[in-house]
């Protein structure tokens, strides 16, 4: 492997849900929305984590505790250090989408990279036309970026849903694809970002097809086991494609023929 980790300081860490924390590092990295870093803790190990912000002065990452590295990352305190290498991969080609309407569809932790896209859009608002957000979470208490999403309601067309409501939930209930279909958003001059669990992307694609979207209007983001991020370790291969380098973001027609995509 090639790139060595840099040492970075955790400048802020905030709890988002029972299992998710937002970590901020006050250092800017040139990157595209949708790219990721390899984040590590000495003695523990390394994990690929998406960038969920877009700012030249800092990066933020939303981390879900699911095991060895992520549990320990989420137990860090302000001032602790981490190893960071990257950014890696191919993100969203935002330049190519100029003058288009944008539809961002995110499920669960798939909302995190899309928040980076939104921050990019906010900084380049005149480049894009209508922006629609469709976010779905399993339960209201699993909702990420609550305050941000509140503020998006003033700027964009926002649709939220949960699978399992609690007593306080007054919004939509059910799968995100239903909301999407009901919204009747137009497919004219429109780019779709679809980011979430495989099952959600699969159903999302079916719905989009029904709504008349072409394959080259839809961008997906894939998760794989990624050990190196440098097209060397072989773990992330989807048929012959290295997801860590050629992805994790793909236009649907680029991967449609790959039998190992789901």
């Amino acid at each position: 492997m090639t790139e060595l980790p840099e040492i970075a300081t955790v400048d802020d860490i905030k709890q988002q849900t029972t299992s998710e924390y937002l970590i901020r590092i006050n250092k800017g990295y040139k990157h595209d929305p949708g790219q990721f870093f390899q984040i590590s803790l000495f003695n523990i190990g390394e994990a690929p984590i998406s960038i969920c912000s877009y700012d030249k002065n800092y990066i933020e990452m939303s981390i879900r505790s699911v095991g060895n590295v992520t549990d320990k990352l989420n137990a860090l305190q302000k001032g602790d250090t981490i190893g960071i290498r990257g950014p890696y991969g191919r993100g969203y080609p935002m330049h190519d989408f100029k003058d288009n309407n944008l539809i961002l569809i995110g499920g669960g932790s798939g909302v995190a990279p899309l928040r980076g896209v939104i921050q990019y859009i906010e900084k380049h608002r005149d480049d894009y036309k209508d922006v629609h957000l469709f976010f779905g979470f399993r339960e209201p208490k699993e909702m990420l970026f609550k305050e941000d999403i509140e503020s998006y309601k003033e700027k964009f067309d926002v649709h939220l849903t949960v699978d399992h409501p609690d007593d306080h939930w007054k919004g939509n209930v059910g799968v995100i694809t239903k909301l999407l279909e009901e919204s009747r958003v137009s497919n004219e001059n429109t780019i779709v970002f679809l980011c979430g669990p495989p099952i959600m992307m699969k159903f999302g694609l079916q719905t989009l097809e029904k709504m008349g979207f072409n394959r080259d209007q839809v961008y997906l983001s894939f998760e794989r086991q990624m050990k190196c991020g440098e097209k060397k370790c072989g773990h992330c291969m989807m048929n012959g494609v290295y997801v860590c380098k050629e992805g994790p973001v793909f236009r649907y027609d680029e991967v449609e023929g790959l039998s190992e995509k789901w």
Binding site: M1, T2, E3, L4, P5, I7, S40, F42, N43, I44, G45, E46, R64, V66, G67, T70, T81, P198, E223, R224, Q225, K227, C228, E230, K231, K232, C233, G234, H235, M237, M238, N239, G240, S259, E260
Partner: protein
């Protein structure tokens, strides 16, 4: 550059000269033939094909990428300069294949360093050393070596592949010798395999696979790895390690949540074969497999991918 002639009486003296210039690695007959670092040149054999390939010298099975102590990182790079004697054309080509992966757009510094001053003295196969060899089908290129030794009874004819190689033999008598292309009994007939992805034979023929990973360990062009930390007991220091991994293991593609992308063993087996015969070629225009036969020879259940592919019909 003209070929040269070396009398076998002079062979050990020549090997001594090589040994004086770096760390000499060559085949030695033990329980099996192995590549080893040489202390005594008389132990070197020109018979047989080492079961374990050369890749370990360029990216060891367990390799420290860097050591850390508190927050200080120190990269670990190779110290030795290897001179390889006795590599067959399949193994030399295997290094050329790995070069494309490890010296590509993001070069691996360790591998790069180990390869940079590496001297390769090949050994031509007059007859294939192993009945599992099928390199004739794999389009090997006659390159990648500094010198190529060809056994001709009393003498070796030495084909020269580089200026550095030439410098080692320029005092020897010249020869007009040209080695014959290698002919192998075993052949891979179906080299266009895209249409074989969905084929019942995978499940049927690969049923007895143990997912043991012997094939990937033995393959000279398999170099996938895991990355993990190895802490010292005192926890203030340790090393980040890469260790050879295998796409034949179920957890190779496992992600958080437990999903495995290649759940069935025949999917994992097929992935390896497709990488060797199809995907790498799509990327670089040549096969990743060099036809060395090791993955067949070393498979505990004798699964033969060449026969499996040869038996497939469109």
């Amino acid at each position: 550059m003209r070929a040269r002639l070396l009398s076998k009486h002079e062979f050990h003296r020549f090997l001594e000269k090589l040994k004086s210039q770096g760390t000499l690695v060559a085949p030695v007959k033990e329980d099996i033939v192995r590549f080893k670092e040489i202390t005594d040149v008389s132990a070197i054999t020109t018979e047989g094909h080492p079961l374990f390939p050369l890749k370990k010298y360029f990216s060891p099975q367990k390799r420290k990428i860097f050591t850390y102590e508190n927050n200080n990182i120190e990269e670990v790079l190779p110290e030795k300069q290897y001179i390889m004697f006795g590599a067959r054309l399949c193994d030399i080509n295997a290094l050329l294949r790995l070069d494309k992966l490890f010296l590509g757009d993001i070069s691996d510094r360790y591998y790069q360093r180990a390869r940079a001053n590496n001297l390769i003295i090949g050994l031509h196969c007059e007859i294939p050393p192993n009945e599992m060899c099928f390199c004739e089908s794999m389009g090997l290129s006659d390159s990648g070596y500094d010198l190529l030794f060809c056994d001709a009874g009393e003498n070796f004819h030495i084909k020269v592949g580089s200026e550095r190689g030439n410098a080692l033999v320029q005092d020897l008598p010249e020869s007009d010798f040209q080695p014959e292309p290698i002919k192998t009994e075993k052949k891979l007939h179906n080299t266009e395999i895209a249409a074989f992805f969905e084929n019942d034979a995978w499940k049927k023929e690969v049923e007895k696979c143990l997912s043991c990973g012997a094939c990937t360990t033995l393959c000279p062009t398999c170099l996938c790895f895991d990355v993990y930390d190895d802490p010292d007991v005192e926890m203030n220091k340790g090393a980040r390690i890469t260790e050879w991994d295998s796409c034949q293991y179920e957890d190779f593609t496992k992600v958080a949540g437990g999903h495995v992308f290649r759940q069935a063993r025949e999917q994992r087996f097929r992935h390896r074969i497709f990488h060797k015969i199809q995907y790498y070629k799509d990327q670089f225009g040549e096969f990743m497999c060099t036809g060395c036969g090791r993955c067949i020879e070393g498979c505990p259940t004798k699964i033969d991918f060449v026969e499996i592919l040869n038996g497939m019909k469109q």
